[in-house]
Symmetry: C2
Subunit: 311 residues, 2 copies
């Protein structure tokens, strides 16, 4: 398949490499020439064909003969510019060149309202758009084990599944366009609240004298059971192979969690949904980031509650 | 075994009945004469022996020839009065009469500091004290399937296990005296935070248009996974056989959750442990209780976030 791939960062780069390994032909665009050249070289290394991955001069150039367009960008404003072109220059955008009927897949994590607005623009010229934000981090992107949360019509979902399977392990249909974003921000909202809850429970227990391992065992077999306690426990020494066991390096960064909490809180504002704990969790992560820990794994929030430095 | 059982309420009554069924001889005390007579009748019905359960005139009277003393009372002040006697009348308390060496088991949910203080008083006259708060509610108390979270020395734990097995299914050793309470309040703190987190995530998703069943399925297989979502989902229609499926009747009441959140927040105050989400969860449940919903299951908090009446 001829795929236009736009956005070759920490996530997009390894995702595009997995499409190369799956044998697709790519036309790629990124503001970083280095990222583009790296991917062209990956195509050459995979197939001995310097044409398997071609560098494009703009998003419009990447999309002009594509059978599918994939975007993986940091925020809504980037997705908007890539699809519609920069202000006053729509000719550089994907929608200026992409052939009618070709599907667009946006894998970025952005607000559902922007997704739905861009989908209406794309539909007006005959291009269906699916949102497909991911979970699994850079490790999952490299290993090809990402989870894709997809918002699309059933027909579009069926059509896109084979492409997404080249980059991920779990391809989940969440409903109509925008619902992939909704699923992701709701999950990460709950994840943040659960993690702070586990951090509070483990810190309180330890302060009151219970063995943290014993407490974790009780939580994990009781009604406090949750992923943040039984798979990703933030208390150092309770579990091996989690960020808490290595000074909170790796994992899912505080600033990435902050981005998702921001999206959840903004979306909630629009539909007048109170999020008393979600709003508080955002403030706690904001404080921790402001204290200089934005690059640490998000489970490091327990150290703020304990009044301790991360390592 | 000859057991003194003090406190025959919604929990203590069915717990004592299970000890009767296990063949123990009981001397019982409660402020309600009706509760006492009910238990005497239960002894008669079980064994045809009107002496299997005897009514005691005071806690001291219940304990005077006991081999084990069990208390199941609403709050710390009741436990204190039962063990030490009312102000100015220590002779009515358990400690005035209980034979040296006889173990005391307090199954009430109270603060760990009071447990540890009472344990020192009991130890000073040769009686070991274990705290053994329960989870499982009145249903578990009746069915004999309670979980006991026990704080005791290893020797005392081993000694008490057979008695507790007559009333419960899971008997968990949490550490030294007081650690049963610590385990319980930490679990219920996390449970409250998780439940509000699930309520926020499910409400936000539904407001943004995702199918609640689909969202629940995604949370339950992702990092938002938790008992409050996969076993006790608060969103009506997502799961059968949970309080949300029956107008939030039955289950674990808002006012009981408030009591445990109060204990967690007070204990946290004593050790200077910040609980930013736990404190907020307490306030939310306080608001919901004040609005007249204290007797509903604690998962009903989602209705407050949705701005809707419970049923």
């Amino acid at each position: 398949m001829r795929i236009a791939f736009i956005g070759l960062g920490h996530m997009g780069g390894p995702m595009a490499r997995n499409l190369v390994k799956a044998g697709h032909r790519l036309r790629v665009f990124d503001l970083s020439a280095e990222a583009v050249q790296g991917l062209v070289a990956a195509g050459d290394a995979h197939s001995g064909d310097t044409q398997q991955v071609q560098a494009a001069a703009s998003p419009a150039d990447a999309a002009r003969d594509a059978e599918c367009v994939i975007t993986m960008l940091p925020a809504a404003r980037h997705v908007e510019v890539v699809l519609c072109g920069p202000d006053g220059d729509p000719a550089r955008g994907v929608l200026a060149s992409v052939p009618r009927g070709v599907p667009l897949i946006d894998c970025s994590t952005i607000d559902p309202a922007t997704v739905q607005r861009l989908a209406r623009l794309a539909a007006a010229q005959g291009n269906p758009l699916a949102d497909a934000p991911v979970s699994g981090g850079t490790g999952g992107a490299t290993a090809g084990t990402l989870t894709f949360m997809v918002g699309a019509t059933p027909e579009l979902f069926a059509q896109l599944q084979p492409v997404l399977q080249g980059m991920g392990q779990h391809i989940v249909h969440c409903g109509a366009t925008g619902m992939g974003q909704v699923a992701k921000i709701c999950n990460n909202l709950l994840l943040a609240v659960s993690m702070v809850g586990v951090a509070e429970a483990m810190s309180l227990g330890a302060s009151l004298g219970i063995d943290p391992q014993v407490l974790a065992g009780i939580l994990n077999t009781s009604s406090g059971r949750c992923w943040s306690a039984d798979t990703y426990n933030p208390y150092p020494g309770v579990m091996p192979n989690v960020p808490a066991a290595r000074g909170y390096s790796g994992g899912f960064g505080v600033d990435l969690m902050l981005k998702d909490l921001g999206l959840a809180n903004e979306a909630a504002r629009q539909v007048h949904q109170p999020l008393p704990l979600g709003a508080q969790a955002l403030q706690l992560y904001e404080m921790w980031s402001r204290q200089g820990h934005g690059q640490l794994d998000f489970s490091s929030i327990i150290r703020m509650l304990q009044g301790q430095r991360p390592a």
